[in-house]
């Protein structure tokens, strides 16, 4: 019964996506939109395949993926570490948590020129900007995760003589993981957007640099294909982390 309802929902979602592409195709075929400005999917989708087969484009794509992953690898331990420190020490937490909340709420994209002044326009600058985008939401998610550990479970475990290590592995870890993963997912979304934006702004390589160039030279099929590839990239990252999050949080409902 439930599975059937679920299937109907995913069917409708598939239909909505399909309808979007069909409308897009119809709009540019019928002349409702200028096909030079809005190339139909029947031109854009083959272009995606063509781009992915093209070695030069693949090199740009790999650079963007490297920047994004490296930024993630730096931001994750740093953010989780700071978050844990802020949550575990009430003193540090009271001193610095408001600072992190403040910076997390500030629009961070406007700081990009500062990163160019500090780090130049190369690979390192993109990574640094990605870390900057991802870090704060992760710190906040981690320190919120510590606060979400159920107090009565801890008391119960202690009363039953659990060791410190057991308490950490069995209770803290399991309770915190879903929330930390959610923070990581948000951080990675900001990270990807930040890296691509930095590449679009000033860069010699990367996906974003291609987008700006294509946009300026009105190469619309390539531009739309590139947009679809960037969307695909972030959907893969987002859905992978979301699946992990669901698995880590499965103990709650079961």
């Amino acid at each position: 019964m439930r599975a059937q309802a679920d299937r109907r929902v995913s069917l409708a979602q598939g239909a909505a996506v399909l309808a979007f592409f069909l409308l897009w195709e119809a709009a540019s075929r019928s002349g409702l939109a200028d096909a030079r400005l809005l190339p139909p999917p029947s031109i854009v989708l083959p272009k995606v395949v063509e781009l992915l087969a093209d070695e030069t484009f693949r090199r740009h794509l790999v650079i963007t993926i490297q920047e994004m992953l490296l930024a993630g690898l730096i931001a994750a331990p740093l953010g989780i570490g700071i978050g844990l420190a802020l949550a575990e020490s009430p003193y540090l937490g009271r001193a610095f948590k408001p600072f992190f909340h403040f910076v997390a709420a500030v629009p961070k994209s406007v700081f990009l020129p500062v990163f160019i002044l500090l780090f130049g326009i190369g690979f390192g600058q993109k990574v640094a900007f990605g870390v900057f985008q991802a870090l704060f939401v992760l710190v906040i998610a981690t320190s919120a995760a510590v606060a979400a550990v159920p107090e009565e479970l801890l008391r119960l475990a202690r009363a039953n003589g659990a060791t410190r290590r057991q308490i950490w592995v069995e209770i803290h870890w399991n309770a915190m993981l879903p929330l930390i993963l959610e923070g990581l997912r948000l951080g990675m979304i900001f990270n990807i957007a930040g890296v691509i934006f930095a590449e679009m702004y000033v860069s010699r390589a990367g996906l974003g640099q291609r987008f700006s160039t294509w946009g300026e030279s009105f190469r619309m099929p390539e531009l739309f294909a590139g947009v679809l590839i960037a969307a695909g990239l972030s959907i893969i990252v987002n859905e992978t982390l979301r699946a992990l999050e669901r698995r880590a949080g499965a103990w709650r409902t079961s």
């Binding site: 979602q13 009271r94 629009p107 406007v110 002044l117 606060a147 979304i189 679009m200 960037a230 959907i235």
Partner: protein, 267 residues
């Protein structure tokens, strides 16, 4: 946030209170920032001292003010589109249970996409004038408004609707007098996030390709290596974003003023 209700770590003799520590660190940071470029530890092209940024920035206040006004107008127009269209879409999605199940996951997936990549398309379509900024920023701020409106409508107390229906409320009065006011508090957070995104969207778009506006000005000063003005421009954007956020939350508090009375009765 401050859920650490554990007794505020009693200051042991020499230890500073946490609040004092925070301000001390910020003050040290600010002083270092002022001294580092002036003493030549860091080249002045990279880091401008705060005082230099303020002085050089205020010296060119006319230029900054007109750019700021331009940006602000773009933001206001984009806000109208993002709130209007987002609120409407959210209302429609939130009212139908099936639409909610189908459209909400799609909207939240779209929200997760790096929307910046759309901007070159916008400039190709609408040129590098204000039109492309308004389109881009409206789109950028749209999704949080849709999501929070749908969630707010979904959370409306069913008893309110049943009661209104029992008293013979028709479709429009039902929406304008029951559902919207009841959903408003939940919509509030979405409006604030949407407002912040619209602001960022306009400024980011101006930084990428524009002819006027504060983002354009920042980029221009950066290419000319006039570092103090770059920092001053960023500061202005932060003030603009903060001011707009305060304004929005104040308007919302006024709009949902009917609520506390009702809540008091429950208590």
């Amino acid at each position: 946030m401050s859920a650490t209700t554990a007794s505020p770590a009693r200051v042991e003799g020499w230890r500073l209170s946490p609040v004092a520590l925070r301000w001390l660190c910020l003050a040290i940071l600010l002083v270092l920032w002022e001294i580092a470029p002036r003493a030549g530890w860091v080249p002045q092209v990279i880091l401008a001292a705060p005082s230099a940024a303020l002085i050089d920035g205020l010296a060119e206040w006319d230029i900054f003010a007109s750019a700021l006004l331009f940006t602000f107008t773009e933001i206001l127009i984009s806000l109208c589109f993002a709130y209007g269209l987002g609120g409407l879409a959210g209302l429609v999605i939130g009212l139908s249970p099936f639409g909610r199940k189908v459209a909400l996951p799609l909207a939240s997936s779209l929200y997760a996409l790096p929307l910046v990549v759309i901007y070159p398309v916008m400039t190709a379509w609408f040129g590098i004038g204000p039109a492309s900024k308004i389109w881009f920023a409206s789109l950028y701020g749209l999704f949080p408004v849709i999501l929070s409106t749908a969630a707010g409508v979904q959370l409306v107390d069913r008893n309110l609707i049943t009661m209104a229906r029992a008293q013979g409320a028709r479709f429009w009065p039902m929406i304008t007098e029951v559902i919207i006011p009841a959903a408003l508090p939940a919509v509030v957070s979405g409006l604030r996030v949407g407002g912040a995104l619209v602001t960022v969207g306009v400024v980011v778009a101006e930084m990428l390709a524009a002819t006027d506006g504060i983002g354009f000005l920042i980029t221009q000063y950066r290419t000319m290596f006039q570092t103090p003005q770059v920092y001053f421009g960023i500061l202005l954007v932060l003030v603009l974003a903060g001011g707009l956020d305060t304004l929005i939350s104040r308007l919302e508090r006024r709009a949902s003023r009917w609520r506390p009375q009702q809540d008091h009765r429950h208590e």
